[in-house]
Symmetry: C2
Subunit: 568 residues, 2 copies
């Protein structure tokens, strides 16, 4: 009991401390109406999910300590909807995390749900749908939290934001159906990479073949992105990726970049020619506009990790006083070959924490290994973790755990390890897996290590990239390695300056180790951020300190068994 | 209070009488799993909503007095679903009527709802989605109720069923969005008319140009429908239309038809060359296979009421022992010109009740006129009734009325009439309308007349067909007329042998009068059965005897304000 009292005190202190901050903080109100719209994100018109009639959704901008209130009205005709605030911890408000079946019931058509949460930490974030594959339908936008005045540990004169995504011409309904069909139907590579929701299908090629004019684009919905800069200034570029599938690389002609932030955490400044960014990640880089001012420059975004059939996306760095439409004199930078993994690893390994970043506990209380495999269940292709493919129940975990309801999800404890003789370099010998909805119950305020272990897929000589995203937390990235994780690898963990992240890449045939402290009462998914992979079961559900969760708003509990049992 | 006690007794007697019947009756169990499927209903593959992996849904077949139990699992990824059992009165089970926002909450993804209801009256029925435009996505099937042995008032040797529908290649999501866009985007005429879910796009033309072979169809999903018959027998054809838009005409080469049933009610047998059938209607016709047995014969289905851009649908009447694929020696019958309304009216006016059909009360207690207009609201095109375009609330009426919840729907009493000087022959002078959710509250066990009045649409010289469908009831069709209804028309009402129907056509520029008794406690929509018209607001909501509704199952109340207030 003593421990429990201590925990209560801790939470009270944390809330009080937030309250203190919030004396100066603002509450920022937004009205979001989610509905289908016609839009031409790459100059080809399709149906998308928009917010307030536009795509992408409005940018939310706040200061650390502010409270965000989003009144979300669902105007989709027959679909539910939720929005996840990616990278926001939701300390004290786990029901506002915006994950259907986990933190809340999907909001029914014509109904309104109010998301209210504090943004306690400066950084580059975004928000997106977290139900079915609605993110891939266009349900996303930027969420940027400024540091308190004078508290940013680097200097810059101005900033630009780049929210990156990928886009298919096939409807999300058809994409989704294809994933759960026999035979499996894969939508293929994206038609277009979008920057701030804008791309040019069948048109960016012109840039590369040395044509001297941009495509004729009269539709502002797909106009090329132009970043206006003044000479001899320092710019912060906030780059976030909400791609459904694609891993990306970004490079700027003639300009080096200094990486200073990753997923809302400051990192030790590192100068690079290009950056890799995986779905779910965000970075801030600084660039100095010290190049020949008579020219504009290209910013290129290419695809990593999959044989690209998609043209790189381009934006223009427009030096004042050049014309916006003046084509750069040099060709767009060519991003690395898709399968040059050594390049990717070199970049990823370079990202370490800025001095002064909180250090991880020296030891973990529990180590959980997560084997990432591609499997089959009744002939359907699935992804599994320790041979369980996540199938979330219709009643959200948070409410059912808080109120101790039975039979909502599997009571079976999910496995914490896998067979020692599993050959990660070969397709699974027995590809059969099973669906599951069990929860990893974690002791509150304990230190957990996850070892993500990649494997060969169902096809010979294929292992895919998986960017894993943890809700409700930042974690320390303790290390990466090739092949199978060995116990002795623990000795090599970076406990000196491991970067804090909320999303981390798992390289093909490799492993990634993370550590975090279970200090945020709630139920939190940890999953591959590739939308079709999650939809095919690639994730797990964690619960910690659910007994400390305060009263969940009724509106988050309206469905399923919580809906039946918990009213008034 | 005396009246109330009498009503209770009436209901108890009715239930007891049903119970007696049900001693001999069966309970028939069905499991329906609703989900997206790939299907090729007209030989072009698209996504559809299927049941148990197939399209159309399974045929439900029962005997009058049986109880049907359908366990419906929603396996759509993000959409709710309901199913309406079209033509079934749902006496004592108004929550099983399957209308989202009216009788129940939509069933959430991964959840199961059990429909349990009695089919008390023999007839040709069907079922279909009643949420958004899911019917048009393929969510429908046949529901056939046989008369008790020996109680059918006509003789036949065997029967065939024809469930008719129309089909578009554009997704229902896109069709729906187009209806609520500025500018309005109309999907256009259907690509294909389907018979039992099968049609041949870009192929039926071959039949008409005198080609000597059918298209090569190897896919059973779109194989032409063949009705096998033996010579010199009498066949009952059960014909039902669940089209989204199209009014149809059906004719059979060399064979006359005797109409014997309409919407589950026996009619005075009438011999015709072709029948008109509107969305929501069903007919049974008898044919005698007394023609030259060396040939097969065509059955043709053409479009009425709209300039058709869709090939007629064809089926083959296959006389034994001819080959199934033997082409008829004569050309398919040509259905009447689309705008030959005199032909349609002549057919419709001929349908009267069989002798012995219950007669309507001689007078009504209340007459409500319903002006059908096309309007604009904030620039969006809508349909309105007495200048109100129906916009149903997220909380279903049935539960909120039963439990007296406030602020669920508009408390405003909807108008019972319209301006006497409204010119039905011209576009509206003021096209502006407003949305509404008010309810027509009808005294229990009273006699109500509705006068449906058609008008000119927003375009000069256009008035459209509207087949109006009433839930929970059969009604007597007292009369039809051209132009504006006059008080003196009441004197011409057919009180001698008015047909009982659940769906009735409103002809362009005309009026239709119906009468019914409010003897079924519940909340019932009365609406145009054209899917886009209903979606654009063309309907009203009636309530009667809601105080006599017994306990509504919790599962029907899980959403909205009932969800918040009514649990345990």
């Amino acid at each position: 009991m003593e421990k429990r009292i201590l925990l209560y005190l801790l939470i009270c202190w944390s809330l009080a401390s937030n309250l203190e901050k919030s004396m100066a903080a603002k509450t920022r109100h937004y009205n979001f109406e989610v509905g289908y719209i016609y839009w031409s994100p790459d100059c080809e018109e399709r149906m998308m999910i928009g917010i307030n009639g536009r795509f992408p959704g409005p940018t939310i901008r706040a200061k650390a300590g502010d409270t965000i209130v989003v009144k979300l009205k669902n105007s989709l005709p027959t679909e539910g909807v939720v929005i996840h605030w990616h990278g926001i911890k939701q300390l004290g408000t786990p029901w506002a995390d915006g994950t259907a079946s986990i933190s809340q019931c999907a909001i029914n058509p014509d109904e309104t749900f109010v998301y209210r949460f504090q943004v306690d930490k400066a950084g580059t974030y975004f928000y997106h749908g977290h139900y079915g594959m609605q993110r891939a339908a266009g349900l996303y936008g930027s969420l940027i939290v400024d540091a308190p005045d004078g508290e940013e540990p680097f200097r810059y004169d101005a900033e630009h934001s780049l929210l990156l995504s990928d886009w298919w011409h096939e409807s999300v309904q058809a994409q989704t159906l294809g994933l759960s069909s026999i035979p499996f139907r894969w939508v293929g590579e994206p038609q277009t990479i979008l920057i701030n929701g804008r791309g040019q299908y069948n048109c960016s090629l012109a840039h590369f073949t040395g044509e001297t004019s941009l495509c004729k684009i009269t539709n502002s919905q797909c106009a090329p992105v132009v970043l206006r800069v003044l000479p001899n200034k320092t710019y912060r570029l906030r780059i976030a990726s909400t791609t459904s599938l694609s891993s990306l690389n970004l490079a700027i002609g003639n300009h080096k970049m200094t990486v200073v932030e990753a997923d809302g955490n400051y990192v030790k400044p590192v100068i690079v020619d290009d950056i890799d960014i995986y779905s779910g990640e965000s970075y801030s880089v600084l660039i100095t506009t010290d190049q020949n001012t008579s020219s504009n420059y290209w910013l290129s975004i290419g695809i990593r990790g999959r044989l690209p059939k998609t043209q790189p996306a381009l934006a223009i760095i427009n030096y004042h006083p050049n014309s916006l439409s003046k084509l750069p004199s040099s060709k767009p930078p060519v991003t690395p070959q898709w399968n040059e993994y050594s390049h990717s690893k070199a970049f990823t390994y370079k990202i370490v924490a800025m001095d002064g970043t909180p250090m991880p506990p020296a030891k973990s209380n529990r180590q959980i290994a997560l084997l990432n495999t591609q499997n089959k269940i009744d002939g359907y292709i699935k992804w599994s973790i320790n041979n369980i493919s996540l199938a979330v129940p219709p009643t959200p975990y948070l409410g059912s755990m808080k109120y101790g309801l039975k039979n909502v999800f599997s009571a079976e404890k999910p496995p914490e390890n896998f067979s020692e003789d599993y050959d990660v370099m070969r397709p699974p010998i027995n590809p059969n897996s099973k669906k599951g909805s069990g929860v990893y119950k974690l002791e509150f305020n304990s230190t957990i290590d996850f070892i993500l272990q990649n494997t060969n897929t169902l096809s010979e000589n294929v292992s895919e990239i998986h960017p894993w995203h943890l809700h409700g937390h930042n974690f320390w990235v303790l290390g990466y390695g090739d092949g199978k994780f060995k116990k002795s690898d623990v000795a090599e963990f970076n406990l000196k300056n491991p970067p804090l992240k909320n999303t981390v890449v798992l390289f093909p045939y490799g492993w990634t180790a993370i550590r975090f402290v279970t200090n945020n009462p709630g139920v939190w998914p940890f999953h591959c951020h590739i939308e079709p992979h999650l939809h095919m079961g690639m994730g797990i559900v964690l619960a910690e300190g659910v007994e400390f969760v305060s009263k969940i708003p009724n509106e988050a509990l309206a469905c399923g068994i919580t809906g039946q049992k918990l009213r008034n």
